[in-house]
């Protein structure tokens, strides 16, 4: 019998991988990729493993009852997601928040931004196999969580922001504790820069990898640190200041290269800027006053709609709420940063090497629980 030489077709060379929900490099999210040797040629994201139906559940609870379950999508940054909701509900129901309440709300938001970025850095360390990069940020994060626990009573799920202000005032001695923590942390940030960002291995793995140009960033509509790493200095706190942010002076940090290294560096620069903002807020805060407006048991307003957005740790988080005059909202839509950044994932992965996948995927700041809502 003669041997037949079988010609290798295009389809034989490609291998399909399912980077699934049980994978140390993907979290609770699945994407299917096809690889040709070492290069990725096709990518298809498949979210929905944590889809809990938040938007539908909002229609069955009144405005105040929605706060606990709405803070679970981004559990480590929970103050910002309820901040945006409270702003939208206050516009619908015509509630005015006292000034001291606004300052403390902004302070909790900045502390949460630090906590979120440290957790993100920690998991980045796991993805790249750098275990110090996991231990140091998670350890420092515990100190901030102590502060937040003294302020709100819980470690991660604070339920601190409500429409009308915040739940309770700062405890005694909080301001000094906060200033001491910020001073310690700024020294630590210099150490982080030395160990993590000036590390030649980290630089080799992230520089020049997954470049997102400025035009593409605008076309794809990405948000947050991904946008600022591609050269566009957009920050909701500067473009459309809410609450007391129009009295705080700070610079929007951005970088121009658009690669993975820039996307890793921008949150770090944001953390430094955030320390300054915390100091300014503590300085300018009125020393006494109410922190919460008096509310009716079931607040409701006239029929209408509102769209408000806030700069969370990940990007612009917007709420579109339609009300029909009853105490329960008619429709609530969350526009979250992860869902918008997901569009850049197939765009950047196609054409890059398989080994670069973790650094591209996690630098896009994607959290599956938030994108699925």
């Amino acid at each position: 019998m003669g041997l037949e030489i079988v010609k290798e077709t295009e389809e034989d060379r490609l291998m399909t991988l399912s980077v699934g929900p049980q994978h140390p490099g993907s979290g609770h999210f699945r994407f299917t990729i096809k690889v040709d040797g070492d290069y990725i040629v096709y990518c298809d994201p498949d979210p929905g493993y944590v889809h809990r139906g938040e938007e539908k559940m909002c229609e069955y609870r009144n405005f105040i009852q929605n706060i606990p379950h709405l803070e679970r999508p981004v559990i480590h940054d929970s103050t910002n997601i309820t901040y945006s909701y409270s702003l939208a509900v206050e516009e619908l129901t015509n509630i005015q928040v006292p000034l001291r309440g606004q300052y403390i709300r902004a302070l909790a938001s900045e502390l949460n931004r630090q906590v979120y970025t440290l957790y993100w850095l920690g998991i980045y360390g796991i993805f790249l196999g750098h275990s110090t990069m996991f231990m140091w940020p998670v350890g420092d994060r515990e100190l901030f969580i102590d502060l937040l626990e003294a302020l709100t009573g819980a470690r991660v799920t604070h339920a601190f922001n409500i429409p009308g202000g915040i739940r309770n005032d700062m405890p005694e001695g909080f301001k000094d504790r906060c200033l001491r923590q910020v001073a310690y942390f700024e020294k630590r940030l210099d150490e982080y820069e030395d160990i993590f960002y000036n590390n030649p291995l980290f630089r080799q793995r992230t520089e020049g990898v997954g470049v997102l140009t400025k035009e593409d960033a605008i076309k794809l509509g990405v948000t947050g640190s991904v946008l600022r790493a591609s050269g566009i200095p957009f920050d909701v706190r500067k473009a459309e200041p809410y609450d007391v942010y129009n009295e705080i002076d700070f610079k929007v940090q951005y970088m121009k290269t658009g690669d993975s290294f820039a996307r890793s560096m921008v949150p770090f620069l944001d953390m430094r800027e955030s320390c300054q903002i915390i100091r300014t807020l503590l300085d300018k805060m009125p020393q006494s006053g109410e922190v919460r407006a008096k509310l009716q048991p079931n607040p409701k307003g006239p029929a209408g709609e509102s769209y408000k957005r806030v700069e969370s740790g990940r990007g612009a988080l917007g709420y579109y709420i339609v009300s029909d005059g009853t105490p329960k909202p008619y429709r609530v839509k969350l526009s979250v940063g992860s869902f918008r950044n997901m569009l850049a994932l197939p765009y950047l992965l196609i054409g890059s090497k398989l080994a670069d996948m973790p650094s591209i995927y996690w630098s896009l700041n994607y959290w599956p629980v938030e994108a699925d809502r």
């Binding site: 929900p21 049980q22 944590v50 539908k56 069955y60 679970r72 999508p73 998670v138 994060r141 629980v369």
Partner: protein
């Protein structure tokens, strides 16, 4: 005759050998890297330097799940995730243990009336220890692991 010998041997060796085997199992529980929902943040914090679970032998082995013997179901299990959870559980070798962490894994928790959420994981996998909380503090999770250790100490070799 051989069967009887096997039985006699098992019963004779149960006390000394069983103690050694259980001691080995207790101090090296390796969890699978399967995060289901938001409680994974507290599991990550438990592996951090302050609440160090590594001193109990619980290292998140990032290798394959064929080497692991513990699943910590962290948080809500949706209908899309449920078949995958069962598949992962089936692929693990015996003996295996399950910890249900968080209120959502026990009864559905805050999301009990959602259209896509399972009311508890009792229907899919057999659970050994329930750790309540929303999310449970890392110390509570460590107490849950210690309860699991007590349970393993009392078990017999097969």
């Amino acid at each position: 005759m051989v069967g009887k010998l096997g039985d006699v041997l098992t019963r004779a060796l149960d006390l000394p050998l069983g103690y050694a085997i259980n001691w080995g199992r207790i101090w090296s529980l390796w969890p699978v890297h399967l995060e289901t929902a938001c409680c994974s943040v507290e599991f990550g914090a438990a592996s951090g330097p302050r609440y160090d679970v590594e001193r109990f032998g619980i290292i998140e082995a990032f290798g394959s799940l064929r080497q692991c013997d513990l699943i910590v179901v962290q948080g809500t299990v949706t209908r899309k995730m449920a078949p995958r959870l069962r598949m992962v559980y089936d692929q693990m070798p015996d003996p295996k243990y399950v910890i249900a962490m968080g209120a959502c894994a026990i009864t559905g928790g805050l999301y009990i009336d959602s259209y896509n959420v399972l009311p508890g994981i009792d229907g899919i996998v057999p659970v050994d220890v329930y750790v309540p909380g929303c999310p449970p503090r890392p110390e509570t999770l460590i107490q849950g692991c210690m309860l699991l250790q007590e349970k393993i100490k009392r078990s017999k070799i097969r």
